[in-house]
């Protein structure tokens, strides 16, 4: 019974739904505020994403005539749920709930599931704008997948080099390795991989310079063109939560091993680190860069970012 | 003697493949397939051939350690493979006739609606 209660607590409160949503909304609000300040604007209040969500929930859901109703409505819910499960698998520094039941590759794919649910929702809406949007979303996905994979392999080799198998995919093993040997980020051969991962984060989330799939000015929000009411709100919430989860994943992969011994304090540390990562990877590029073209995103990720990750991988492979 | 066999079968196979690769006429391609078949059949028969051996027809009582005969198994294999080759040739020719009816040509480089 206590087990069940704990599971419910994990799923619903920490590190599940409630925690993710709160931190995600705060991060998103902070990002908007920071960007506004950098562009010399006042910016919306910190909780603006939450207000947006609430307002969406009060609106009517319009299902277009060409839409496939059930999928159109199920996609946002599925995407959100799949994302929350990722949060359960990602260790918060040393505190991990279910991190032994899924590894890095699984998390890579679970994040894909989130993207796919968005794509399926867009496809189900039947709108041509959504069609263009999902095509771009997929291109973005192909773009960041290669560097992401290379980063995962580099981390896996670094943490697993001393194990009998020589490699590992297990997040828990990676966190444990960092606890013993210091964080990944402080091993110089991993710095290019960390940089690559920092580039992967905004594209995975679809933040401004890489938001080719949602480009409001060109294709009218692309994948979200037909969404209105609560489903749209849920998609926006998913977007916020994804910001937190990618930051947490970065912390687990590169900044693990810093443990205070208390779960609550660990969570706080992760939140602070997430704010820093958000600022570095999302707010600054958002404020200073114009949106990339579709083919530029692809080229950038498969050459520059993948190159960075590859350097790390080769260095690690050489045992440096 | 047996060396000539191997040489000829190598020659036949190579010629057949060359024919299949270079000839644009569908019938010539079929001929090439046939040539490859014959070459391989010759190879199998030659494998079992012993110079000076007798035909492998014996009673169990006649069979002694000194009896010297041609290995019968490759011959059985060859028969099977000849039958299969005949089927393949028949099938190829059928398809060529049908193709000619549908496409109006026997040139292989004009029969390429499935590509890319």
């Amino acid at each position: 019974m206590t087990n069940l209660l704990w599971t419910m607590f994990h799923v619903l409160v920490f590190p599940g739904v409630l925690f993710c949503v709160v931190i995600g909304v705060l991060l998103a609000g902070l990002d908007r505020k920071l960007v506004a300040r950098m562009q010399n604007r006042v910016g919306p209040p910190l909780l603006q994403p939450w207000y947006d969500f609430l307002k969406c929930c009060g609106k009517e859901t319009i299902i277009p005539r060409h839409a496939r109703r059930s999928l159109f409505l199920a996609a946002p819910v599925l995407g959100f749920a799949a994302l929350i499960t990722v949060a359960l698998f990602v260790p918060v520094l040393s505190c991990s709930t279910y991190s032994t039941s899924a590894d890095l590759v699984v998390i890579l794919y679970l994040l894909t599931v989130v993207g796919v649910s968005m794509i399926v929702g867009a496809a189900a809406s039947g709108s041509p704008f959504a069609g263009v949007g999902l095509s771009r979303e997929m291109v973005a996905m192909i773009s960041y997948e290669l560097p992401f994979v290379l980063v995962i392999l580099a981390v896996g080799r670094m943490a697993g080099a001393t194990t009998p198998l020589g490699v590992t995919f297990s997040l828990q093993a990676i966190v444990d390795w960092q606890a013993a040997n210091g964080s990944m980020l402080f091993h110089w051969s991993m710095i290019p991989a960390a940089l690559a991962m920092l580039f992967v984060i905004p594209c995975e989330i679809g933040m401004h310079p890489f938001d080719i799939a949602e480009a409001e000015t060109e294709i009218c929000e692309g994948t979200l063109a037909e969404y209105s009411g609560p489903p749209a709100g849920l998609f926006r919430l998913t977007h916020c939560v994804k910001m937190y989860i990618m930051c947490a994943l970065f912390c687990a992969m590169f900044l693990g091993g810093i443990s205070t011994g208390y779960a609550a304090l660990d969570a706080l540390v992760v939140v602070v680190l997430s704010v820093v990562i958000t600022f570095v990877t999302m707010s600054v590029p958002h404020a200073v860069c114009a949106r990339f073209k579709v083919e530029q995103v692809f080229k950038f990720y498969w050459t520059v970012v993948a190159g960075l990750a590859l350097i790390s991988l080769i260095l690690v492979w050489l045992g440096l | 003697m047996i060396f000539t066999n191997y040489l000829v079968c190598f020659f036949l196979v190579v010629l057949g493949i060359y024919c299949m690769v270079s000839q644009k006429n569908l019938f010539k391609i079929a001929v090439g397939m046939g040539l490859v078949d014959y070459g391989v059949n010759l190879l199998i028969v030659s494998v079992g051939f012993h110079d000076g051996g007798t035909a492998p027809i014996f009673n169990i009582s006649e069979l002694t350690r000194s009896s010297f005969f041609v290995d019968p198994i490759p011959q059985a294999l060859t028969l099977t493979s000849i039958v299969i080759g005949a089927c393949t040739t028949a099938m190829t020719l059928c398809l060529i006739i049908m193709l000619y009816k549908q496409y109006g040509t026997l040139q292989s480089d004009e029969i390429r609606r499935l590509r890319g």
Binding site: I84 | V47, T92
Partner: protein, 657 residues
Amino acid sequence: MYDFMYHFPVLAIMVLFLGAFIASLVGRRNAVIRNAVVLIAMVTSLVLILSLVKPILLEGQTITYWLSNWEPVGDWAIGISLEVDALSLFFALIVVVAVFVSGVYSFFYMDRDDSLVNYYTLFSMLSGSVLGLVLSGDLFNMFVMIEIMTFTAVALTAFRNTYEGALEGAFKYLVVGSLGSTSVLIGIALIYSQMHTLNLAQLAAMLPGYDSPVTIIAFAFLFVGFGSKAFLFPFHPLAADAHAVAPASISLMISGVLTKCGVYGIIRLAYTVYQNVDVNVMNALKSVCNPMNANFVQYFITGVGVVTMFICVTMAFNQHNFKRLLAFHSISQVGYVITVIGLGSALGLSAGLFHAMNHTIFKGLLFLTAGAVQHATGSLDLDELGGLSKKMPGTCALFLIGAASISGLPPFNGFASKWMIYQAAFQKAGETGNFFFVVVCVAALITSVLTLASFIKVAQSVFFGQLNPKFAKTREVSLGMRIPMWILAILCVVTGLFPDKVQQWLLAPATSAAMNAAGYIDAAMGQGYAASFSIPSFQPQSIFLSGAWQPVMWLLLLVSVTLAVCIVALLGSDDKAPAISETNTDTPADPKYESFFSGEASVYSQVGGSDLFWGFKHNWRHYFSFMHNWHSGVVNDYTLYGAAAIAVALVLCVIFL
């Protein structure tokens, strides 16, 4: 095991050939009797094979059956034998299930074709020959079965001979396929010339002691031959041509069953027969080594797999035909299988077998959905179709399950096996410290996301977006066609959710059977035969995983989170619940239900087919145009590629031996 079970393998094969014979005899007049005969034959062989699961897979026994009781005399196996160990039975299971599903589907799918008696006769022969191949214990018997298989598959490809390109596809398949068969036959001749036997068990015993380059060259020929039956690079254009034009049920057979024969042949040869042969003479110091440790063969097989998997997945981006696209993906997935088979580890082989099985399941499902679309609309053109999800919701759901499986999305079976594949490749890299295997792992992961992209393209082009007015009268296909698809879809989910059970019951026995050369030899030739040739006895390799994945756990979490979200949504939305009824969508008056069109009046506008993924294709345009020209569609060119493959294999043999 009961004694009468020894007859089950041969009966399972014979009943299918008998079915072919009787169907052609009585079926010309009466369609019901014909269908009944075929159904009985399929079900009988399914039951016979299933009844062997317990003794062979679970208890680890091996059945050796000598046809007409020609048992080995004086240690020479002259007679033809069937030898069924766990590996054979594993593939036989795949075959009989696929045959059953495909057969049932055909009853409904082929209802508009005539001269169906020919179809069912050929279909039964095809099934029987494939089953015969995987159960055979004799190399020449395998060749005969391959020939029957190719022959019937060609005939079935051309079955709808009025269909655009059907004859052309069949002709190419026949010509280039005959090159592959010839390659097998040459390999057999070379082996016979050295060993004077073609019994697999006896070969496995005698080959290691017989140090001759001829047997290695024979291996090269056999590898190319079986590779051509699995449509590996550079034989893959054949598959694309044949799949695209064959009836969907036959596409299932070609992709799900025929390619498995090639895979089975390669596994049987490389793991069992050539297991103890020291392939790499330069490393002669490793005298008693697993030949799959001999690096050269490993690199070669893995390399071929990677090239196949990558080229085919990129080729799929260029396609406009639904089934042709699926065909390229089919070969791409076989590339995964071959890649991990080349790794030579127990984990790799398990992953390969798992993926081979899953490939049959999800690829079969996808081909059947393509067939359903073709049956309902009469078209397979991705640029023309669209919006069918409203007309065919069942088929759409099935397609999405299949697409998620092949793209490797959790929790479907494609992910379970691909996950093992990444583990196997990366572990090999870790063990050997060789960067080549890292590249393999990266290629596998990237291929997976490209697969996803291309199935998003299909989903958007066929099932989503707007309905082409041309297909406004489309109706969902009959229940008889959907039930076989649902069987496959359920298998997709079940094997994806319980990979550990699959591993325990199917993969582990099959893997150890493939690696247990001594056991295979002894089962056929009598106890102690392997030891007399100093074949080392089998040391089971244990499988370690370098990661973790518990699909059931994830699914429970997902369901609980979804429920939580739904409950919150329902509680919070008592009066704000979107009150949309389907009737609204039928009244065209209200413009707010139109698709958003920047303020203009909404018109039919479908984004699909080749419109998608511009940013990606633009960057690779040179590669794509090169590949487009390379797959020229001329049969001479394809023959040249095949001949070149044989030549390359031979040259590599000569260089490395």
